[in-house]
Homo-oligomer: 209 residues x 2
DNA sequence: GTTTAAATGAACGGCTCCGTTCAAATTGTC
DNA sequence: GACAATTTGAACGGAGCCGTTCATTTAAAC
């Protein structure tokens, strides 16, 4: 289907390697320096590409930004295959999941990405929405399903899995999330304490009986 | 002490009304459009002031931004006098506190402010740090003290008030915090459910016995 | 009224940047 | 090799903006 369409155009085809080099360079610049402070010329230099090529491919600075966001969201969708659920007691499993989520969300690139998306959301609400759908909402649904499953098996007793999912993740991130966003870096020990504390409180509220 | 110093200078004094008009206008522009996208000329127009006056007062675009951040942080420090603790059962009090915090934090101006501070923190970590100290860390300390007090009176049983404070606030904000940051607006009903849920889980974990 | 300093308006230099144009070079496909 | 489309480099117009200069006006304090 797609291959049939590819063969239509005569002449030199667009260089997809260059295209993704452009998006990569753009992502780096945009999410490090912000939309307004990033210049197309700089992106072109980073990608070893002519500025005109960028305009041929994307036409617009905003469109390039959108493409960068789209790629990053796509990455997120890919990364988040928590399908391999861990073994062990429910307490152990919650701990592992909490740590996995935490590791995923506290990566500096992720913090950077979130900062920029939030900032640009002010002018382009659609961007924030796309991010929510590709990331947080997806994750919440998946985790809620896990909780519902555990609840059905009698390992937990959760009346509202969606709410419970939020509560667990929120506690695990705790204030560390906020601190990272504003440049402070919690110690590894604090991180552990937050996750362990989240598991404790969560089980106190939702363990059967 | 200060009045004595005031009388020192002869000639026309600097117009403090204009000064605060400048800071107000700058705050609005900076926190709506970001640092890079805000022009001094526009701020000058908003404040009905000459551009040169701004440079006389602040000398620099960054300094003006710093002044705007400082003022906003000062406002936060002022607003946050949760000294009047509510009456009623511990459950009722937690509910009231949760709603007060929530109302304070979910105001659109606050969301906007946080977005911008986070974005600028990338280049100026000191700004993020100043915000953390003026806002979140202050609030956390105050709330933890409340919890410790209630714990000492036997109304709660909390081994680690600082951690517990984080947990409660994090659950009360839940994912709504994140959603607002990315442009989605949770319904009033969702907000209520999150606060009520936070109180439930919190008490399940930390009620005496 | 005199003094002293702040505020204003206009203009400027210098810089950055977006987006476009054009001719020339490159590179795939038939 | 001929075709057709992309890529490149350079240059340009136009715009916006920072920060400064300067002569002029305004206004408080003595």
């Amino acid at each position: 289907m797609e291959k049939a369409l590819k063969k239509k155009k005569p002449g030199r085809p667009t260089d997809q390697v260059k295209r993704s080099a452009i998006i990569d360079a753009a992502s780096r610049r945009f999410f490090e320096e912000g939309f307004a402070s990033t210049s197309i010329e700089q992106v072109a230099a980073d990608a070893s590409v002519s500025k005109v090529t960028i305009y041929n491919h994307f036409g617009d600075k905003r469109a390039l930004f959108a493409a960068a966001v789209e790629q990053e969201c796509e990455k997120m969708r890919g990364y988040f295959n928590l399908s391999e659920m861990p073994e062990g007691s429910i307490r152990e499993r919650l701990n592992v999941i909490g740590e996995a989520m935490f590791a995923f969300l506290s990566r500096p690139e992720m913090v950077q990405f979130e900062r920029r998306i939030a900032a640009e959301t002010e002018h382009e609400p659609a961007i924030g929405h796309a991010f929510l759908q590709a990331g947080p909402w997806r994750m919440k649904a998946a985790f809620a399903e896990f909780l519902a499953h555990a609840s059905a098996k009698g390992e937990l007793n959760i009346p509202d899995p969606l709410l419970a999912a939020e509560q667990f993740v929120s506690m695990a991130k705790g204030m560390g999330d906020l601190e990272r966003r504003f440049g402070a870096t919690p110690t590894e020990e604090e991180n552990e304490r937050r996750i362990a504390g989240a598991v404790d409180v969560f089980l106190a509220a939702y363990a059967p009986r």
